[in-house]
Symmetry: C2
Amino acid sequence: MGTTQLQTVPEPKYWHLKTVIGEALDSEFAVGEILPNERDLAARFGVARATLRQALEQLELEGRLQRRRGVGTTVAPPRVGVAVEGSRAHSWPGARGDVWQPAGCERGSAPAAVADLLDSEEPVHVVRRTRVSHGRPVAAELLYVPVSSVAELSSIDGPSGPGRARAVLRELQRLGLEGEDRSVELGSASADDARELDRLPGAPVLVVTTRFFAEGRTAAVAVATYRADTCRLTFGDTPHVEIDHRQERRAS
Amino acid sequence: MGTTQLQTVPEPKYWHLKTVIGEALDSEFAVGEILPNERDLAARFGVARATLRQALEQLELEGRLQRRRGVGTTVAPPRVGVAVEGSRAHSWPGARGDVWQPAGCERGSAPAAVADLLDSEEPVHVVRRTRVSHGRPVAAELLYVPVSSVAELSSIDGPSGPGRARAVLRELQRLGLEGEDRSVELGSASADDARELDRLPGAPVLVVTTRFFAEGRTAAVAVATYRADTCRLTFGDTPHVEIDHRQERRAS
DNA sequence: TAGTGGTCTAGACCACACT
DNA sequence: GTGTGGTCTAGACCACTAA
């Protein structure tokens, strides 16, 4: 009765599990190592598989685990730092040392959210690009370019492949870039993005939206989705060194 | 046999549900409106509650729903754009129009990941700050300042409250700021963060890590966690206008 | 074909916020 | 108290990968 049990808060099992497994990852596992399967792990900890999965989902969200259907659960390498260009030195997509690979280009209309940013409902070229780091795809981008921004091109109706994508980017360079604007938010992968990023639909992604200003208006909008599990976005002149939350142990 | 049923992929129920409910949010619900409870919704769609919850979790992750235990599920307002300062104009924390509120200050040792960035194992002042936007807490920050960065202060052993936090920040201003470095990644709220952000532990957050350079070394490191459900981080001179995510459809 | 993670069910109880 | 979302269980079947 009188016992002031201030905070006997029953910590959720999955939260405790996450902590325990997280610590085990630090001390007993190397990067790339395969964990026991979910049914075994659940039995070992005396919980239902669903509960165990809740813990694993958290760890995957934090980039410490990687799970693949039909394969198993492995210890993920530290997140890779990915530089988001233009934080200080503005440049058009496709310029000089651009790390993005043009993948295709189609014509269509911008989704409502993008049309708002473009302040226009006019048709757009939609340039698809992908970004690869350390041999793995890390981001997929859709670049929306109003046809009026690259008027010279409008007569050309070639195939909608990488060639056309490059042509649109080339035309874009001719505009004087006056500034950029960027935002980052959490999203979930669309079916298209998921395919390009080698993830399941709904996987968490970091959505980087960039507005390019030229000739007094928004000349283009880029929506890039980065794999949230494997990427750390870096800004500024001096890229971060690798951050490692574990003890560095080599996989073999 | 010969039928190339390329993609008769049975779309998961929760994915389909997410789409259906998402569209209903666009057309039939106003911001702040309360949805039917989970049991009713599950029954209405003819699925188990767990399946319905998977869909709601996705929508919450995308910032379109807000769920509170004991209350219900409401339609979330569009994400608020939160400016991350210093993308171009560098300044110390606590300077001029800093939007952060000092909450406390303690001494301790930096966690391993931060110690790596500081290139030092020495004791640090840990300044706690919070950030409020539109009357709601949106971010919690821990600012790690090695004692040697604010040597003048080391003799003062006052109470570890907001006053001391301000004192540390004041000392910091005296150093010449040479540059900053910033990274953004996905994380999950610690128990502490969760309390300050009015969320449950494990809630998704955007972790912004900032390094401050002065006198040829890393003079301080700030780790800020923003509510991923309600925030859109903006960089650059011109903050984004409100982005509305409804109709998130691909151009085709 | 065997083994993995992904999806789904139909329950149960708990912590919390209101009234 | 009543109703809400949060946690947990013990199953089942499916989709995928690799031997």
